[in-house]
């Protein structure tokens, strides 16, 4: 996609809220979808480019939410600064996590990271004097202002999340097109071959992990400011954060620029509407439907929605042949 087209897409995204109630339901869902698209994009740096299936990103996310909120509660520090502090801590946590887990492969890496996030959840639940414990933390109510990152209208948060998604995506593109991107792909295709041609694979993986962890932590701050309340199970939860982020990118298309956006725009509304439509029918029906749909998507479109969208577009424009030759196996 050219610069101009990207620019048009962003313009279009900025116009959507004008058609929606500023404090409505749909704008909230889109806002959450954009937040998760940004989280997916941050995850994509590790999961997509380096091919390492992290199931522990909740650790960084929660760290960011707690850092900025605790700084705000105890010292009145603006969440913007809190977000930077969270980003630094998230990067450090990702670095520390990388040291032992970078040698793990496949499932073992996934399990190691999953356990890492669980450790944070348990600490947040038990270290009550610092974290407030299981009852959670409330972001102090203040007059709406950009400086305190607090708004009355969901519309403002929509733009905030849109900006976050664009920013994380730009970082992703820069990495993809730069040296780190080539090295990461070399590591993904074959770590041994990469070592032979002189890539320091451990260092490359740590770089990616630190960038990804730091970005995820910063997005954790945005989540805290959007929801104003969170508890350890919400921000450090495996199912609610770690697995959902990975799922969004897997469904959307791993390693692609638009995969996280497509995945989030499908999964977040799907969860919500399955819940709204089916919650009063029978217990568990909404989760069952949601699960069945996800399985269908993964079975029918194992390479993700981004690939599907590409094929679809190619078919419409009659370029079926060229798409076949392009398609990765």
């Amino acid at each position: 996609m050219t610069m101009r087209q990207t620019f048009l897409l962003i313009c279009f995204a900025t116009l959507i809220p004008l058609a929606l109630e500023p404090n409505g339901y749909y704008i909230r869902i889109l806002t959450l979808a954009l937040l998760f698209a940004a989280l997916g994009q941050a995850w994509n740096i590790v999961g997509g480019l380096a091919g390492q299936m992290s199931l522990g990103h909740a650790a960084f996310f929660g760290l960011g939410a707690y850092t900025s909120t605790l700084l705000l509660i105890h010292f009145g520090i603006s969440p913007w600064i809190g977000m930077l502090a969270g980003g630094v801590l998230g990067g450090i946590a990702a670095f520390l996590l990388s040291l032992p887990t970078m040698r793990l492969k496949g499932h073992y890496f996934a399990l190691g990271t999953l356990a890492f996030a669980e450790v944070f959840r348990v600490i947040a639940n038990t270290w009550s004097s610092l974290t407030g414990g299981p009852v959670g933390l409330s972001v102090p109510f203040s007059e709406p202002s950009l400086a305190m990152l607090q708004f009355n209208e969901t519309r403002s948060y929509y733009y905030l999340m849109l900006a976050a998604f664009v920013a994380v995506s730009m970082i992703f593109v820069i990495i993809v097109q730069g040296r780190l991107g080539y090295r990461l792909r070399a590591v993904k295709e074959g770590p041994d071959a990469a070592e032979v041609i002189g890539v320091n694979t451990t260092r490359v993986k740590i770089h990616a992990a630190v960038i990804s962890g730091s970005l995820t932590a910063m997005l954790g701050t945005l989540y805290a400011q959007l929801n104003f309340f969170f508890d350890p199970d919400t921000v450090f939860g495996a199912l609610q954060i770690s697995i959902r982020i990975a799922l969004i990118v897997i469904v959307g298309g791993i390693g692609t620029l638009f995969g996280p956006l497509l995945g989030a725009l499908l999964i977040i509304p799907l969860e919500e509407f399955a819940n709204v439509m089916l919650a009063d029918r029978a217990a568990g029906l909404s989760q069952l439907t949601y699960g069945a749909l996800l399985m269908a998507i993964v079975l029918l479109q194992p390479q993700g929605l981004a690939e599907f969208a590409k094929k679809l577009a190619a078919r419409i424009s009659g370029k079926v042949m060229s798409s076949k030759t392009e398609a990765r196996t």
Partner: protein
């Protein structure tokens, strides 16, 4: 690797997004003369049973109110409940509240049972200035200076204190002096926060804690815990857990002839399934509670006849919230959130479904805390819950076997 898309795909995505954007305008249905009241409760997930009991209580109270002529000050307007599932995630609960406000123009929201869900919902409500009526226990709900939160029940810390002081008083009435206690709790948010309150209250009351132990929720073998409990020589055990662990602990204790009194912290101890699963082993088990059906048998009978299930505390308290709401709408004689909020804050409520509350009335202070809320203690007697403490609310004399 091709990470970019072409122009058509962008257009396709744009079209889909625009269609989504236009949906709410089309979907907005005509509202009748009814007064819409939002309900956010966990109707799926681990707390679903509590959500369903709560919903039943709300529905029965609303049906009766509407059948009796609705809100007379508003020309007999009928109350219509718009129910949304909060699931068990705070984010989803807040989204549900925002949906009710945006799409159904609710004058108030009732919910969301689980404290973490209620806290998330309250953040949305406060920013929109719409009243939130709740029965959730968490202390911090009314400690953030919010103007729109009204909590009918005692605070969690008050309930924790009652669990300790109630036990001491009941023991004293039978001539026993409590000195050593044990705390057993499940390793969850609920268990950890409740046990913290218990610990504080025990220390304040001068009890020495000879055992203070957490165990993982869904524990498969409680025998080691019970052995430790026996060796600790505690005179009473304070237990905090949901149903399954509760059943295992009480069953194992009694089977191993560890007969010391068990005092539960609500949760699984005040569910009808507790007695139906344990049979006569449930006899004499105590628990703290925030209301009980024997305090208002007329209303409780109507509920039991209708749903073929005892009117558990969740149902009583939610029905009482409808009483508060109905009386407020009569006083406000308006359906604006501001007028309604003012009426809830100013008025003292009594009668009707509030008869089932231990204080029989509600009066909210500036923080939204009900100053007339009182904790009680119930005891399982022949498969039913009897209110045994405090003495002035007593329906049956407590039995303390030490």
């Amino acid at each position: 690797m091709d990470i970019f898309v072409n122009r058509r795909r962008v257009l396709g995505m744009g079209g889909a997004a625009l269609a989504t954007a236009l949906m709410p305008r089309l979907a907005k249905a005509q509202q009748g003369q009814d007064i819409n009241v939002g309900v956010v409760l966990p109707l799926s997930g681990p707390s679903a049973q509590f959500g369903i009991n709560s919903k039943n209580g709300l529905e029965l109270a609303v049906e009766e109110l509407n059948a009796a002529g609705g809100i007379k000050a508003l020309g007999g307007a009928q109350i219509r409940l718009i129910v949304a599932d909060s699931t068990s995630a705070p984010t989803a609960a807040a989204t549900a509240a925002q949906r009710l406000i945006a799409q159904n123009e609710v004058v108030a929201v009732i919910g969301a049972y689980v404290s973490s869900l209620t806290l998330a919902v309250s953040e949305v409500m406060e920013r929109r200035g719409i009243p939130l009526l709740t029965i959730s226990y968490a202390d911090q709900l009314t400690e953030r200076g919010f103007k729109t939160v009204f909590r009918l029940n005692p605070k969690a810390s008050t309930l924790g204190q009652a669990q300790v002081t109630g036990s001491i008083e009941i023991a004293a009435a039978s001539g026993a002096k409590l000195e050593r206690a044990a705390i057993l709790y499940e390793d969850t948010a609920y268990g950890t926060s409740q046990s913290a309150g218990l610990r504080k209250a025990s220390q304040a009351a001068g009890l020495s804690l000879v055992m203070d132990e957490a165990y993982p929720q869904g524990i498969t073998d409680v025998t080691p815990l019970i052995n430790k409990l026996r060796a600790s020589e505690a005179q009473v055990v304070f237990a905090v857990s949901y149903l399954n662990d509760t059943l295992q602990i009480v069953r194992t204790m009694r089977q191993q002839k560890v007969l010391l009194p068990v005092v539960g912290g609500a949760g699984g101890f005040i569910l009808p399934e507790f007695a139906s699963a344990l049979g006569e082993l449930s006899e004499g088990v105590l628990s703290v509670n925030s209301s009980n059906y024997d305090l208002d048998e007329a209303h409780a009978k109507r509920y039991r006849d209708r749903f073929n299930y005892p009117m558990v505390h969740d149902a009583i308290e939610h029905a009482a919230l409808i009483e508060v709401l109905g009386q407020s709408l009569e006083t406000a004689a308006a359906t604006t959130s501001e007028a309604l909020r003012g009426a809830v804050a100013a008025k003292r409520f009594e009668g009707g479904w509030l008869d089932g509350m231990p204080g029989g009335a509600a009066d909210f202070d500036d923080t939204g805390h009900n100053v007339l809320a009182e904790p009680i203690m119930i005891q399982w007697r022949s498969g039913e819950m009897a209110t045994v403490w405090p003495t002035e609310r007593q329906k049956m004399k407590p039995v303390w076997v030490s």
